[in-house]
Symmetry: C2
Subunit: 219 residues, 2 copies
């Protein structure tokens, strides 16, 4: 299956996992940087290949076969992220960009070798779970968005759920990374809530960023 197809099912999969989960062609098109027409077109083709269910004007739903393909690509992406992160001094965003390309040119055999080399990690450097070779994610996600965190408590960052360059640069600058500890205090201005994290410095997070940083309670 082609890179275009792999990216298409991956986009549907990832969109389905998000909060504002809209898997209509237009949303997938925006994600992939292609026209709506192209997305509708592809949806029909992939329906014929039994990778997704397509009904006019409805959301796109992956079939089992499509979900398996998406998870296989996601697995390869996250394994590459983990490997590149371990071996090379590259920014999280650079690592993401490289993995985005390499994921489509990686045999199952190589993916398994990478996994074994890394000791079969369950998470990548963003805290995203890595599906196993059967496309299963066995880890249970107990994390919550930082925007939902409670005033005065301490949390451990479990996931930076984004591909955005500026977000990663912000995180790098403020030492917001996987497994680091943050103390949450909430700040209100004009009746709108903003947040403050205390680590080394005091960091002000906007609503956008605090909804893509996920944390676990520090027990």
């Amino acid at each position: 299956m082609s890179t275009a197809i792999e990216n298409f099912v991956k986009a549907i999969y990832k969109n389905g996992k998000r909060d504002n989960n809209d898997t209509k062609p237009g949303n997938i098109a925006k994600e992939l940087g292609i026209s709506n027409a192209a997305a509708t077109d592809m949806a029909k083709k992939l329906s014929a290949k039994d990778l997704l269910h397509y009904k006019k004007y409805q959301e796109l739903k992956l079939t089992d076969k499509g979900t398996k393909m998406a998870l296989n690509v996601v697995r390869k992406h996250r394994l590459w992220e983990a490997l590149l992160f371990k071996l090379f001094d590259l920014s999280l965003h650079d690592i993401h960009k490289e993995a985005e390309l390499l994921e489509h040119q990686t045999s199952d055999l190589l993916a398994n070798k990478i996994s074994a080399y890394l000791g079969h990690p369950k998470f990548d450097p963003h805290g995203d779970p890595i599906p196993n070779e059967h496309g299963e994610i066995t880890t249970i996600d107990t994390s919550i968005a930082l925007s939902q965190a409670e005033e005065g408590k301490t949390y451990i960052i479990s996931r930076l759920m984004s591909d955005d360059k500026e977000f990663f640069e912000f995180c790098a600058l403020n030492e917001l990374k996987y497994s680091n500890t943050v103390f949450v205090s909430k700040q209100f201005s004009n009746n709108k809530m903003t947040q403050i994290l205390v680590k080394n410095n005091t960091i002000l997070l906007n609503q956008d960023f605090s909804s893509i940083i996920y944390v676990n309670e520090n027990n």
Copy 2:
């Protein structure tokens, strides 16, 4: 530039380096597993892109720009071979196949990181020289084909110049690998020369194989 283009210039480059160097479209086509018509077509397109010189019925000659592109792809291929060989337990042929795909999805930045991680190696696991980031091969090749080696002398294997699966399997079976030592004795039967190498066992090499194994004198 696309994978198809990168593979095309690479095929011309590698063909030009070989003994029976024929870079006419048909030969390139055979190498790439495409039709002659497709090769002629591509040659015209790449001529328009200033990657090669095309004149009807003549050999294809890479321009400086084309040579640079070929060397950049070759560099990435060989760096991947070296990295995969170091990290994973995979056959030389499997490593070759993976590198063949990854080479087209690798930024110059990542290539440089791989090179640095490996200590800027000058040769890959087959003994093929790795061009530097400017597309230069600075090492001087003093090796000769085993078919040219002298009776009774000892040599060090410097290069296994092939992509062929069966050849690699033969090499693995007989411990013919980069930097190993071989003792050459020649055998004639029916006036045709065959060769015998002594390492652990006695290995009989045919003409084909002894012309793609390169060696240096053991001084």
